[in-house]
Symmetry: C2
Subunit: 584 residues, 2 copies
Amino acid sequence: MVEASVPAGGTGARIPVAATAPEDGQWVRPAKDYASSRYSGLSEINASNVASLEPAWTFSTGVLRGQEAAPLVVGNTMYVVTPYPNLLYALDLTKPGAPAKWTYQPKPVSTSQGEACCDVVNRGPVFANGTVIYATLDNNVVAVDTSGGTERWRTSVGNIARGETMTMAPLVVKDRVLVGNSGGEMGVRGWLKALDVKTGKVVWTAMSTGPDSVVLIDSTFKPFYPKDRGANLGVKTWPGTTWQTGGGSVWGWISYDPALDLIYYGTANPGPWNPAQRPGDNKWTSTLFARRPETGMAVWAYQMNPHDLHDYDGINENLLLDIPWNGAQRHVLLHPDRNGYMYAVDRETGEVVYAKPFVHITSSDSVSTKTGELALDPTKEPRVGRVVRDICPAAPGGKDWQPSSFSPRTGLVYVPHQNLCMDEEATAVSYIAGTPYVGMNVRMKPGEGGNRGFVTAWDPVQARAAWRIPENFPVWSGTLVTAGDVVFYGTMEGWFKAVDARTGKLLWQYKTGSGIIGQPVAYRGPNGKEYIAVLSGVGGWSGAIVAGGLDARDSTAALGFVNAMRDLPAATTKGGTLYVFAIR
Amino acid sequence: MVEASVPAGGTGARIPVAATAPEDGQWVRPAKDYASSRYSGLSEINASNVASLEPAWTFSTGVLRGQEAAPLVVGNTMYVVTPYPNLLYALDLTKPGAPAKWTYQPKPVSTSQGEACCDVVNRGPVFANGTVIYATLDNNVVAVDTSGGTERWRTSVGNIARGETMTMAPLVVKDRVLVGNSGGEMGVRGWLKALDVKTGKVVWTAMSTGPDSVVLIDSTFKPFYPKDRGANLGVKTWPGTTWQTGGGSVWGWISYDPALDLIYYGTANPGPWNPAQRPGDNKWTSTLFARRPETGMAVWAYQMNPHDLHDYDGINENLLLDIPWNGAQRHVLLHPDRNGYMYAVDRETGEVVYAKPFVHITSSDSVSTKTGELALDPTKEPRVGRVVRDICPAAPGGKDWQPSSFSPRTGLVYVPHQNLCMDEEATAVSYIAGTPYVGMNVRMKPGEGGNRGFVTAWDPVQARAAWRIPENFPVWSGTLVTAGDVVFYGTMEGWFKAVDARTGKLLWQYKTGSGIIGQPVAYRGPNGKEYIAVLSGVGGWSGAIVAGGLDARDSTAALGFVNAMRDLPAATTKGGTLYVFAIR
């Protein structure tokens, strides 16, 4: 099922040295390193022996919703966060079968379940300062002492009554815990906050909409493109006060370049989805931001999708890579956006080095690297009272939250993603705090070829796919790549797969109990052996039909995703189990 | 941890030929054969290679309660029944990872959850006549067509409003589906029913209490012991009309001897537990019955625990064995009773051939094979207003529902059981339909030695334990023994273990996601290989503290079981996953 083969040798792409993590056998932050590479330097499990991989032990999380978290490994302990009610387990890796040393249970506000748009997932914790830190669905950020599971601090940062929830994995940079909110379908107003890692006190808040003063923009702010320049665009690009309910939530990934001392993250879609209700660019939604971690001040911004028409959140991961390009070495972040383009953006300036399609796109024609502008296809603009058909990619984009990985050995980026198109019809919608604020009837369907997912190996230097693996369902899990030249990912049927990092050839697979939408990680156990761990348990937006028990007859359920996933309940069941694999 | 070793060679005990099942690689009824041996003739996985066993695939049941069912294998399909809401999955073994061919979902009455005393378990289905037949918690017996998962018939046989539920695995004998009810803690009145396998129509009902006419006793009824003889004892051994709410439910196991054409099963405890409210023998509770399968007429009965004081249900399994005893070949059923004695009872007459303790017993001194009488220790009788201490075994008995297995190769019976004592104080209680009717405050605690469970290898010919394996928690899973001379069982921590059938030596173990209280089975897959399957997912009476999220501070919760299981929540988590193991 592999369409092409990787170029021999590496592509020339590299992880910037300052953003790498030492290979100490641990996995202490969501993406392993600040570059978001999800690359493990372990090579005991490799392409020639991975066929012998087997489940070493398993652990039931006790919660049957979508399991999107990356397990962390710190010292001899593994930390696993469940979906709501967001339990945190500390598993003792020094003992066979890894029993729980302790369990931390936040006291969640039960109404938060009703506010989550797309299952009650959690994308995992981060380790820092002797604590495991994560965000609960009900907008608390908690720091739990690793020594005994007691709560070091807990900070409430959002308001459920406004429809705010939290699902993202924090990142800690210097002494700042960086966290953002979810709720773009409820008319929330997005923000990224920095909390003091020792006390949990909020140090700064960068709003995604509103006047420059609250977006943390001052005279030093230098967007690369004129289209992103001007005063108070977070107000002026909206009609009236609609920026106050305009979305731009921050529920995805954060990267950090220590050399430039800049953090990178994207903001989500504008609200409501119905674009007629918000004429203008709707800044700063669907935007990449570069900010200073200590002050939060914006250094540059680039709006991928001005006046977004199709729920193309900009929250996807940003892999920090240095690549040769047109004879020069460019320091870029690689950003596979929901709009279907793989962006390489200069980390220092925000210039688009390239933006090339990684999926079939009908909603736009191209991205100009000169102006930074996305050339929309006007026939695909949703309208009230008219069904616009065959918009590709669909609302979850060419790729959603599920994070890619990069191997410095192959030079390839392994992108897990979907292949979906949609029909849309806009509807008028009124804002009522804490209720859905969408204004769009969506019906998704499989894209070209009929398969709904791919793992694409992207050559960041040639700016094209080296090969891709089609999957029946969206590939909603993250990928992991190791120095053993093996890429791991899971399918929504529940297969956990190992493929050759150079060719995509399937080397091994194992059927877990439920669909996999988690993030695989690699670590070295106390016995010195390499292990691969992943959560199994279908759900998330794509799997809400199973995790939430949605009615397949309602084609617009789960914001239209159900229409493309009617056969998922026949392919998998609810689950919630950690699988840990090793070679005996 | 093994205390002794097995005698060399077999013990001389045999499964009666007529009650064996051909080794066709299938597992079509709960205990594999009518003798209830749970013996698999497969030997590909054996004591010398079982250390290479590994999980071949897993399947999430999507339900997080105690998983007590035995998976069935019929042809190339595996059938798995979940706890309430009692889904039935048909898994296609011809395809890697065994995806579901179809799922049958009964329309359950949700109030049944509140009526179950001890978690909402289901002990599995039976295959007959092209259908998979099982009982739902809300008292429906359903026959589901194996060809497409459609409901062939569905018969309502009980009344939730009276506190009746169903948890047992039916057995089909000839064209009769034999099923009984649960609810001994709600003042239900027990029964066993026979339904026509083709239509589901009730053919006969044998009540456990009441006049002979409804207990299906006529002049041909011949109990072996005078204590069990007399007219209408199901009424006369009760004060007033208390027999109408007197318990004797039938929620355990049924065996069948085709040569004698007799079915065997036991009845549960009398209600309420407070014995002062029901002076008399309380027939026919805590009783073994032999009946004709076609008419239901009783042939003999033997009451193990007249006027039961301690919730010693008689529902445990009856293994049909032929054993040499005092120079003669005796055709017995081996019955490990909750009262702590291993009974060998003549299958034809009901004579007690022997009754020997298999656990530490303080509640009684002995059983007379002459009179059939249990010699109670009067100091252990519970009283109102007085706490009676150190009653052994505790209410769940020396052994509860978890079924034993027997190997004709070793001649040993592998008994999974608990090691618990209790303090009891009786309280007055009034009957209100559909509510708990117990009248006893119970606090359980570990028995002698401090460990709460054992696997005991019982030599049925020497009438003593050959060896035993202590376990920290009650061994609440069934055992399986194979022609490979391996015994499989699970622990409440989640370990699935393989031990040498001759010595008890641990050969292999694997940590599943949650505590195991299921019934392991062996089968031959379509590829000709041997597989071992078991459900993982803690719960049941012993695991209710986890599955039901009970408060450990209430020492009398779960009828006093919580007091002995306060540390279980630290040892395991809720789960619901099928594990299938093989050697690669």
